[in-house]
Amino acid sequence: MKRISSNKHAYVVVFFAAVTLLLWQTLFKNRHDYENLNIKVPNLILNDFVSEKNVELKSLQGKPYILHFWATWCGVCIKEHNDWLEFAQNADLPIVGVNFHDQPKQAKQFLQRKGNPYQYSISDAEGAFGVQLGLKGTPETFVVNANGKIIYRHTGPVSGKVLNQEILPLL
């Protein structure tokens, strides 16, 4: 009786050990890590709706830059706008604002009213550029290295802490 009971316990322990190992393999060994992905910013020519000039993304290569997806209909994006204004004043790198699924006229009015932290203000009205990068929603921030490869991504609002302690050290 005692032997059957201890065998039963052994089976349970082995089972849970196996499940834990399987879980470890899947959760920690195969993370969706941007260091392991080969996502390069595509060489697109997009319209800057503030300067009303075209911007060729390839021309941004050579030094790191930030791509920040936002929209005027996105309440969180409006709320974090001041953080971006402050960051832009202190950071010595291009910040490219990508206005996602929005109306450029409305976006331009917003930037004129509230301040513009972006060196380039690109319109991605159809969202095609966002899908190319694996965008999940707004706000979302990508850090691109000098070779045009995405090295970091932050989904959701950024605070001054995230900008200065997580993003800036990457650049």
Partner: protein, 117 residues
């Protein structure tokens, strides 16, 4: 000559219709297999989230460029991970997802057998 033109026109029309019908069928199937990344409980077929709309457009555009369904899925998985598909591939990263239910069932059966003995 007139007959020849009619035959060629009919053939081209039929070919275009079939190509479009196949693309449309692939599109309808694919958008139901891809998860909305903003509203994960919905497929991009059901979701009105802006990114879901963009993903539908992207899939449609790629199908019209004669890209295969497998390549389009690979494109999406490369950017969003396996979780973007309702049926992710069977590989190391998805072993738990695919085999855990069977493992639990086998364990439950073993436990029952031991108890019965």
């Amino acid at each position: 000559m007139k007959t020849l033109r009619i035959v060629v026109f009919a053939f081209l029309s039929a070919w275009l219709f079939c190509a479009h019908a196949n693309t449309d069928a692939d599109y309808q199937l694919l958008i139901k297999e891809v998860r909305c990344v903003t509203c994960p409980n919905q497929s991009i077929a059901e979701s009105n989230a802006p990114i879901a709309i963009s993903m539908r457009h992207e899939i449609q555009s790629r199908l019209q460029s004669n890209e295969s369904v497998a390549d389009i899925k690979a494109f999406l998985v490369e950017r969003y991970g396996n979780e973007v598909l309702y049926q992710p591939p069977v590989e190391q990263g998805t072993w738990f997802l695919w085999f855990a239910p069977f493992a639990v069932l086998i364990a439950a059966l073993l436990f029952w057998l031991i108890k019965v003995r």
